[in-house]
């Protein structure tokens, strides 16, 4: 499988606070990769590195074979809020994305009917054709996020990044959008990197589950308190494309329970060498001090 994102030995440090600690990660084309972890573990920070908003303190972040450039068309993004331009209607938001991605100044001449048709086609895909002339503030939270997805997808980014996109939605809308996103992913052969702190959401959505957590130990000793987030779990999931009923099965619940212990429980510390990193793309290169006194 072709690697879209390659992250090697990445640290991110703010001042003297280590946020990400020696992250290794590859993401292949076609994956719906979910990244979950307790709040403050560095999920958004990792996403910003992939997006090119910030640079790693150490290590390499590679997008399609090149050092991660500043934000550009290679990575689409949907944030939890502020993804849509508040001064434009839903239709114009999507249309602007379409025309901007062809040429930054294309949006100065009037839109061709092809461009309009395509924007409308994407609005249909996210089932918002009836709301085309509404401004973002006139939409419900769920509709806003659907519009933001259409706006991000119309530029056909190689990978779609999402940072807690459903985090501000009520539980019903949230579940509806989860199902909707898996359908979109399946029909359009998308590659999605999805960040959430909601474990159930991560397990339900992903074809691959990554757990980022600061609750682990290594041979720097248990008293070492400058520990940044690390990928402590990386596994293929088989719930993909399933209905929401899967959330009630024992298998689903068991996985959630075990990940809660691995990633979300400050008192349970797994050793770096015992992490479950069984996904085919997974790899781990530990520094010398992390496994100095190998057991």
């Amino acid at each position: 499988m072709e690697k879209l994102i390659e992250i090697k030995d990445v640290d991110k440090v703010y001042g003297d606070k280590v946020v990400l600690d020696n992250i290794d990660l590859n993401v292949s084309k076609g994956e719906l990769c979910t990244l979950v972890g307790p709040s403050g573990c560095g999920k958004s920070t990792l996403l910003r590195l992939i997006l090119g908003m910030e640079r790693a303190t150490r290590g390499e972040v590679i997008i399609e074979g090149k050092n991660a450039p500043r934000p550009n068309k290679q990575r689409g993004i949907v944030f939890q809020k502020y993804s849509l331009f508040p001064n434009l209607s839903v239709f114009d938001n999507v249309l602007l994305a379409k025309r901007m991605c062809q040429s930054p100044w294309a949006s100065l001449r009037s839109a061709s009917s092809d461009e309009k048709d395509e924007a409308m086609e994407y609005l249909k895909r996210v089932r918002l054709e009836h709301a085309r002339d509404k401004k973002p503030h006139e939409l419900s939270g769920g509709m806003q996020q659907r519009a933001a997805i259409a706006q991000a997808l119309i530029t056909k980014p190689p990978v779609l990044l999402m940072d807690e996109p459903f985090g501000a939605l009520d539980p019903n809308t949230r579940e509806e959008l989860q199902v909707f996103l898996t359908e979109l992913w399946e029909e359009n052969n998308l590659t999605i990197f999805f960040v959430t702190h909601d474990l159930e959401e991560a397990v339900f959505l992903g074809t691959r589950l990554l757990v980022l957590s600061q609750y682990y130990t290594d041979d720097r000793g248990d008293g070492f308190d400058g520990r940044g987030g690390k990928i402590v779990f990386d596994k293929e999931l088989k719930f993909k494309g399933a209905s929401t009923e899967i959330k009630d099965t024992d298998e689903f619940k068991k996985l959630i329970k075990s990940i809660k212990e691995i990633g979300f429980e400050p008192r349970i510390l797994q050793h770096v060498k015992d992490f479950n990193l069984t996904h085919p793309d997974s790899y781990q290169t530990l520094t010398e001090i992390e496994h100095r006194n190998s057991k």
């Binding site: 997006l51 908003m53 500043r70 934000p71 550009n72 068309k73 990575r75 689409g76 993004i77 944030f79 809020k81 502020y82 993804s83 331009f85 508040p86 001064n87 602007l96 994305a97 901007m100 991605c101 062809q102 040429s103 930054p104 100044w105 949006s107 401004k135 973002p136 503030h137 006139e138 706006q151 991000a152 530029t155 980014p157």
Partner: protein
């Protein structure tokens, strides 16, 4: 009574309009009463002219050719003042957009020019009026420059703050759909900043009038402020009062137009802020 004066009074629609008129009515009644009393005492009194005298003055200034120059002085004054105000404030607005937008987007540019803009905005504009007259002469340039210097720094700072307030998500979003920095600035940030800039413009207009009248009072050959200070020598209150009312009306009108313009062009702005 408590229905009206109480904390929880329901004052809406025609009631609020009616109550709003009361102070005006009181002012007019008191004026007429005082004016009549003084004129009865001394028909030559100039301090509180009657409405009839003011009407005559307006007739003379606005609708009769000036004997010496053949101009309609009132309209000539209005035209001259509005020209200075328009050019000064217009240039300040354009300057504020150019500088404020770039300040908001480019940290380096902001670091370079931010402190200077703040410094200039601290200078009391009227204090440098003599400098402007000395260096730029007593013509139009100095007056326009005063209005510009008095309003541009505040407008610039406001535009910068408006850009700064736009969530960084918006900028990243624009870049991920392929915007270049220039396209980001003029296609994404400018439209979101304009409504706020128009609001600031309404606020600085009051100051702009002040600078205009002050500079006209000192050196001019025409203009609303010039006329008021000229006829002051003859205590011509019958001219001064209509001029002041006219200036007030113009100020009110511009404020109203800008407000309407803002809500019709950028309706999303107030709604989205809720």
């Amino acid at each position: 009574m408590s229905r009206f004066w109480g904390m929880h009074a329901d004052v809406s629609g025609w009631k609020s309009k009616l109550v709003g008129i009361i102070p005006f009515v009181i002012l007019i009644v008191v004026y007429i009463y005082a004016s009549d009393a003084r004129l009865a005492d001394n028909p030559q009194d100039k301090l509180l002219p009657s409405f009839g005298q003011m009407y005559d003055a307006v007739e003379r200034m606005a609708f009769t050719e000036d004997r010496r120059t053949g101009d309609y002085l009132f309209w000539k004054d209005t035209g001259a003042s509005l020209f200075r105000l328009g050019v000064g404030v217009g240039l300040a607005f354009i300057f504020a957009l150019m500088v404020g937008l770039n300040q908001g987007l480019y940290p380096g540019f902001n670091a370079g020019i931010g402190p200077f803009v703040t410094f200039v905005s601290m200078i009391p504009p009227l204090a440098i009026l003599p400098i402007l007259f000395i260096s730029l002469g007593v013509g139009e340039t100095a007056k326009i420059a005063l209005i510009f210097i008095g309003t541009a720094p505040i407008l610039t700072r406001d535009v910068y703050l408006a850009v700064d307030k736009i969530p960084s998500e918006q900028k990243v979003k624009a870049l991920t759909i392929g915007a270049t920095p220039a396209a980001l600035l003029y296609r994404i940030i400018l439209p979101q900043t304009l409504p706020r800039a128009l609001d600031s413009l309404r606020l600085v207009l009051g100051g702009a009038w002040l600078f205009l009248i002050a500079s006209e009072a000192i050196a001019a050959t025409e203009g609303l402020g010039y006329r008021i200070f000229l006829v002051r020598r003859y205590m011509a209150m019958d001219v001064i009062i209509p001029y002041v009312l006219w200036i007030t009306l113009l100020g009110f009108l511009f404020d109203w137009i800008l407000k309407k313009l803002n809500s019709s062009l950028f309706g999303w702005y107030r709604e989205a802020a809720k």
